[in-house]
């Protein structure tokens, strides 16, 4: 990819060097301290509007210590070493009831990125389609 980082920049911390397990643990601790549930999700389709990544198990509620979540992150990394993996936090507070954190903790070595398909329509109008090169291949064989 040609952006300054050369990688997909979704999530809270994509502009920083890849987080260490200690840094990830600190972020999980922050989320647990707020009473948020955490979940680990993975995908091999990083399209910006691909909302539903696969859940690596249901969101984890009522945990007290980050180690359990880090264990799941590492299990997910072991199972899907070449997928994008993100950690998400969810708040159940009235008025939020939505994700409150999202950051990538694993990504493919090589990220081919996206093509922009321009469909010329009426007048000078253009309809745009963002196409992930990876999705040219079937699921599971993309990276």
């Amino acid at each position: 990819m040609t952006n300054p980082n050369g990688i997909v920049t979704q999530g809270q911390f994509s502009f920083l060097p890849a987080l260490t397990d200690a840094q990830i643990t600190a972020q999980i601790k922050y989320a647990l301290g707020k009473g948020w549930a955490l979940s680990v999700e993975y995908t091999d389709d990083p399209h910006p509007r691909n909302t539903y990544w696969e859940m690596f198990g249901a969101p984890m509620f009522d945990l007290k210590d980050p180690a359990g979540i880090l264990m799941e992150i590492n299990n997910c990394r072991k199972t899907f070493p070449h997928h994008y993996i993100r950690v998400m936090a969810f708040s159940s507070v009235r008025g939020v009831e939505s994700p409150t954190m999202s950051y990538i903790v694993n990504r493919p070595k090589h990220e081919p990125g996206f093509g922009l398909v321009r469909q010329e329509t009426d007048g000078r109008n253009i309809r745009y389609t963002i196409h992930a090169y990876a999705t040219d291949k079937p699921e599971g064989e993309r990276y």
Binding site: F15, A89, M101, R124
Partner: protein
């Protein structure tokens, strides 16, 4: 009270002629405020020698049922209900004798809910600020705060999208959003303008933005701007894998033209459009309805507000605008930066942000919040911090403004010595490093400069940004400040 007495009293009260407002029933110190009352608090500066209670009653009268003389036609109505009631007058701390400021008073007025048409900011404002600001009895008058009853709030749509859904649509959580206003704001052709948008977004910003006075001028007509900007947005989105946006300003001379521009923005796939405060309350409400109907985030630039919100003794406080705009239904509103080039005392700005974002705002005199306000589940409105801010202030911005805010670094991005992309990188790295550190439990207020220095060790663009703007700050004294320091709230 016997019917005879009532008759006598009625006769006396409605005798033709002029009666003090206090005597007409607009001053009721024993009045018990109802949950359904709309409350307003005015700062009044009476003409020298006037009775502040009489002036408060006059404001109540003129903003509800009264006119300068007694009219018998009152008696055909439930006029006692419709009369606004001034129920409390307090001297403003640090004004009057022995101070440099002439005497001012806080006047609290209660309005019956039936006085207002549902879902109409125009009607609400015509009542509350329609007539009274020119009254001779007041030397100066300022609307400081309002308590909107839940029943009335429920007649408004509220923000078309709201903070929560905006984040879900953009897939951006747990950090402030980053934006920049395209500069120079005037003179660029559509093609050149789109270049700035592309560079900023590809470099790492979430949003780029039109400025308030970019509409459709000779150097760039609106359709050109929209077409080039959307190519830039989509290209940047493909280059980064992130959802990106550009606030396309649809402000125009007529509603018809604004709708036309908004429709075109939608057709091109924009996630967000923009309007200016100067289009007026009704136009804003109409655009909010349109935005809800068309899955569009609605950004409001507060163009013009300082003409009436800045001076402390006259006009209206910006927090009232915040309330009205949340009701009117905008998703973004410029609400101050604390540290940038535009007016803003930290405590006051905290009050604006709370007004826009809270489910329930408690009374907080130190933040200028005079009333408790239940927001009746109205969506939250995202505050926007814009004007003279740069990456080197990130720790201050995050501390003061929190996560739910759009940080707009216009000059701080486009003026970067290594280019626009580098400027965007510097801002995004500074932001992410600061959020990471805060979440790790570090004291970013004090360690902030060090955190930025550490990130600058591996991030050249941030290094350059810090070196370029290290000494820039705008330390002027604010004009709109709290009348109450946190310890002085005992009298309330």
């Amino acid at each position: 009270m016997s019917s005879n007495e009532t008759m006598q009293e009625g006769k006396e009260r409605y005798k033709a002629g002029v009666l003090p407002y206090k005597k007409m029933g607009y001053w009721q110190p024993d009045y018990q405020v109802k949950d359904t009352d709309l409350l307003a608090m005015f700062r009044i500066t009476p003409q020298p020698g006037s009775d502040p209670e009489e002036v408060a009653a006059a404001v109540a009268g003129e903003s509800s049922t009264a006119t300068w003389t007694v009219v018998w036609t009152d008696r055909l109505t439930a006029c006692e209900l419709y009369r606004a009631k001034a129920y409390r007058v307090d001297p403003v701390p640090n004004t009057g004798e022995g101070t440099k400021t002439e005497a001012q008073y806080f006047a609290y007025i209660a309005y019956e809910l039936d006085l207002f048409e549902g879902g109409s900011i125009a009607n609400l404002t015509a009542s509350i600020i329609g007539n009274v600001f020119g009254m001779k009895a007041v030397k100066a008058l300022r609307l400081e705060d309002m308590r909107i009853p839940v029943a009335y709030l429920k007649t408004f749509q509220g923000p078309a999208t709201g903070v929560i859904v905006e984040r879900e649509r953009l897939d951006k959580f747990g950090r402030p959003l980053l934006g920049a206003t395209t500069k120079p704001k005037l003179g660029l052709s559509g093609r050149n303008y789109g270049r700035v948008v592309y560079e900023g977004l590809k470099g790492g910003l979430d949003f780029m933005k039109d400025d308030e006075n970019i509409n459709s001028q000779a150097f760039m007509h609106w359709r050109d701007r929209f077409l080039y900007c959307m190519d830039a947005v989509n290209k940047a989105s493909a280059a980064t894998g992130e959802v990106k946006g550009h606030y396309l300003n649809v402000t125009a001379g007529t509603m018809e033209e604004m709708y036309r521009r908004a429709e075109f923005a939608k057709e091109l796939g924009s996630v967000i459009i923009m309007i200016d405060l100067v289009i007026g309350y009704t136009a804003i409400q109409s655009m909010a309805l349109w935005a809800r109907q068309n899955d569009m985030i609605l950004h409001l630039h507060r163009a013009g507000n300082s003409t009436y919100s800045r001076q402390k003794n006259h006009g209206m406080n910006f927090r009232v605008i915040c309330k009205w705009m949340r009701m009117a239904g905008v998703d973004h509103i410029h609400a101050g930066t604390v540290v940038g080039k535009l007016e803003g005392d930290p405590a006051m700005i905290k009050g604006f942000y709370d007004t826009l974002l809270d489910d329930h705002t408690p009374q907080n005199l130190a933040h200028g919040l005079f009333f408790e306000q239940d927001w009746a589940s109205l969506n939250k409105c995202m505050p926007v911090a814009s004007g003279g801010i740069h990456a080197g202030q990130m720790h201050q911005l995050l501390t003061y403004l929190g996560d739910d805010v759009v940080l707009q670094f216009g000059g701080g991005t486009i003026g970067h010595p290594q280019g626009i992309q580098a400027g965007a990188v510097a801002n995004r790295v500074a932001l992410e490093a600061m959020v990471l550190a805060r979440n790790e439990g570090r004291d970013i207020w004090n360690e902030g400069p060090q955190i930025l220095q550490d990130a600058a060790k591996w991030c050249g663009p941030l290094r350059a940004a810090i070196d370029t703007w290290k000494d820039i700050s705008f330390n002027y004294e604010s004009t709109d400040t709290a009348d109450f320091v946190p310890t002085a709230t005992t009298s309330f």
